[in-house]
Amino acid sequence: MAAARRTIPAGDPDAEHRRHVVSALVVDRPGTLNRVSGLLRARSFNIESLTVGTTHEPGRSRMTIAVRGDDGHLRQVLAQLERLIEVLDVTDLTSAPHLELELVLVELAVPASADEEQAVLDLLASAGGETVERDADVWRARLTASPEVIDRALDALRGHGLRSLVRAGAVAMAAHPHHDTTTNENGAPGA
């Protein structure tokens, strides 16, 4: 029997850093967030975003962590995360089909013209968004889309009176393998 050789390379710090989206199922107790973020910090990972919320199971929370790092290094860190008592499961969603969405709240100057207004509404719509409040001196709107689509929309909104914004950080979930990652209605590509 010719045995399959699995060569696991040691983490190469010079390897290209790419963005990873990691989903972790954790025990909902004080200190869990501290432990997870502390481990990533100790290994010098810069956390791009980290969201936590409850799940359908009592006592369990789901974290979505977006970090940059080389694949081998990250794989090893995820194994370290997995061994934490508080962490029940860790999956790197990056290379598999997955849904990824982010919620953003923005404040915009009130459009000066009907054309301007249409341009803003089109931009919001391109990122799954709409206005939430239209005051006399300010508009507030929300966007819900993949981080890349959000980035593009926010860039464009800067030219249309973007005053401030609050990003919630990515939430992600594994998707069906046949999930079409390019034509999601919210523009949320899977990879």
């Binding site: 029997m1 699995r6 060569t7 696991i8 025990v27 004080p30 006592g59 090893q76 194994a79 508080e86």
Partner: protein, 581 residues
């Protein structure tokens, strides 16, 4: 305030007569088989001290909480059990941290119990309040505050289970004082009531990957096993020897792997790494199959990883998946308990013929490397006392059967190289963290945990002065630890680095210390001094006769170095072999 519900705590169904949290803690310790605890009282843990007499628990009053943590660690390492340390809130708890980190790095199971301010005061900077859980998180396997008396029995049982399961480690439980004072009727949980979803329990039983490893062994000409602490944690030293004998593979060991195989066994290769034996390091560089079992391939073993074991297929067996591939390229990674893997391997391996050529090569290299670095190598000066001779004599006098606890620095390397270990659990040292001051308090714990064995601490004059307050504990409890101070009046390892790497620019390496014999006199500890080789055997014999603690102050040649030595950034093929080079 609302109590936080322990998420995995079972709903209490059975009830027992109500007792306060402090009693529930002690009861749980007794149920866990604890007999000895190392502690230091303070306001927030006084409820425990108030009831301690009611339980069959021997409390050793240490002189500093760091000593308590190291003693609990030494107790665990010598016995394979779980040591316990207790400290009060704030400064007491913080003093445990070095000991927790030491245990964490070396995968030593241990439970630390701290008091904290009452729940209503938490987070308000109350007197002696510290967020010890926050501080302890990165240096423990698990740490939590127990916020409800009803959670106490479960929390303690869970702490022990976490500490000793899978890859062991220290656990810290923090009890607000009022949790220790209020009553609970929740019983101590039965094993089936424990549900720990986050515990990585390696599946016991066969390890199918052993097929592949057996094939690799069959195909190898120059195989070598590099065995680490994991073999002893898995209590698998017998299996290791059997596998070695079945496959005729020599066995090297890491610092914490000392005792995995009797050093006089024909297949024992010896201690590897930065100050390991040249012949062992040469084998690592020349072997065509390197089988790491329960070791971390850490930098003290590998040096520069790009030149490590260049001719070998590298196999890594570890119970912790995150270790595999962390440091070195791995051709075959197997996540398994060392014992399970070795048993699986033994079932598959046919009896091998002796690997004569490979073993002859080892013997030839060994002859050269021992001649170069044994005493007489020129690493010490004529007529002066050399450390390797002292360690060798302690080994001989105790028939190599003592528990030997080394400190950190040159003394640690001399102890590892020259004692001549025969059995598992007899060598204790802070390998991962390199904590100076570890040895004396850890030896205290080891002597209490394994009283049937003679216990020696081997320590430099620097490390000794870091935790020598525990001399008083040794006297008060008449704990028979023999302390051999390898006194070079220097921070020896610092001096060595400054000599070799920093152009003899000695700074802060010279160390004034007290007259240790008179110091011991003040404590009521019998003590001797030796300055010449011909005095060594005599003082060792005297010290062994003492019924309680004893100390020998060995005045060494202050310029003696530990060779060979791997320089920082260099690899195993590139070692400094001795003073003459």
């Amino acid at each position: 305030m609302t109590a936080l519900t322990h998420p995995s705590a079972p709903q209490p169904q059975r009830q027992v007569a109500p007792r306060i949290g402090a009693r529930a803690v002690c009861e749980a310790l007794v149920r866990e088989g604890v007999t000895t605890i190392f502690g230091y009282p303070g306001g927030t843990v006084l409820p425990i001290y108030d009831v301690l007499r009611e339980f069959p628990l021997r409390h050793i009053l240490v002189r500093h909480e760091q000593g308590g943590a190291h003693a609990a660690d030494g107790f665990s390492r010598a016995t394979g059990g779980v040591g316990v340390a207790i400290a009060t809130s704030g400064p007491g708890a913080i003093n445990l941290v070095t000991g927790l980190a030491t245990a964490m790095m070396d995968s030593v199971p241990m439970v630390a119990i701290t008091g904290n301010v009452p729940r209503a005061l938490l987070g308000k900077d109350a007197f002696q309040e510290t967020d010890i859980v926050g501080i302890a998180l990165p240096v423990t396997k698990f740490a939590t505050v127990v916020m409800d008396p009803d959670e106490v029995p479960f929390a303690v049982a869970e702490a022990f289970e976490i500490a000793r399961s899978g890859r062991p480690g220290p656990v810290l439980l923090d009890f607000p004082k009022d949790v220790l004072q209020e009553e609970t009727s929740v019983p101590y949980p039965e094993p089936y009531e424990l549900r720990l979803p986050g515990l990585l329990r390696p599946v016991r039983g066969d390890v199918p990957e052993a097929d592949e490893l057996a094939e690799m062994i069959a195909a190898a000409e120059r195989p070598l096993i590099l065995s680490g602490h994991g073999v002893q944690i898995a209590d698998a030293t017998d299996l290791l020897r059997k596998v070695a004998e079945r496959s005729e593979i020599p066995v090297a060991h890491t610092l914490l792997g000392i005792g995995n195989i009797d050093e006089t066994h024909r297949l024992s290769a010896g201690y590897a790494g930065m100050h390991g034996w040249m012949h062992v390091n040469k084998m690592i560089q020349q072997c065509d199959l390197l089988i790491g079992i329960g070791c971390r391939y850490d930098d003290r073993i590998t040096g520069k990883t790009s030149t490590f074991a260049p001719n070998a297929k590298i196999v890594h067996v570890d119970v912790d998946r995150s270790e595999i591939g962390k440091n070195v390229r791995t051709d075959l990674g197997i996540v398994a308990d060392a014992g399970d893997l070795l048993a699986a391997l033994l079932r598959r391996l046919p009896q091998s013929d002796p690997r004569t050529e490979w073993m002859d090569q080892l013997a030839a290299w060994r002859e050269v490397s021992e001649a170069r670095s044994w005493h007489g190598s020129g690493a010490w000066r004529e007529g002066r006392l050399s450390a390797d001779y002292v360690v060798d004599q302690i080994g001989e006098a105790t028939n190599h059967e003592a528990t030997l606890v080394s400190d950190v620095g040159q003394n640690q390397m001399w102890a590892a190289r020259y004692f001549g270990f025969r059995k598992p659990f007899h060598h204790l040292s802070s390998g991962g963290l390199g904590t100076m001051g570890y040895s004396v308090p850890a030896a205290m714990g080891a002597a209490l945990g394994a009283p049937e064995r003679e216990t020696w601490a081997i320590v430099g004059d620097g490390g000794f002065q870091m935790t020598m307050q525990e001399l008083a504990t040794l006297v008060q409890d008449q704990i028979p630890v023999r302390i051999a101070v390898l006194n070079n009046h220097r921070l020896g390892m610092i001096r060595q680095w400054q000599e070799i790497i920093y152009d003899e620019n000695y700074h802060s390496a010279e160390l004034l210390g007290p007259d240790l014999v008179r110091l011991c006199e003040a404590y009521g500890i019998p003590a001797w001094r030796a300055t010449r080789p011909d005095e060594v055997a005599g003082v060792i014999a005297e010290a062994r006769k003492a019924p309680g603690p004893a100390l020998i102050d060995f005045h060494l040649d202050e310029a003696q170095n530990v060779y060979p030595m791997m320089l920082p950034g260099k690899g195993l093929s590139d070692m400094v072999e001795g003073a003459s080079e």
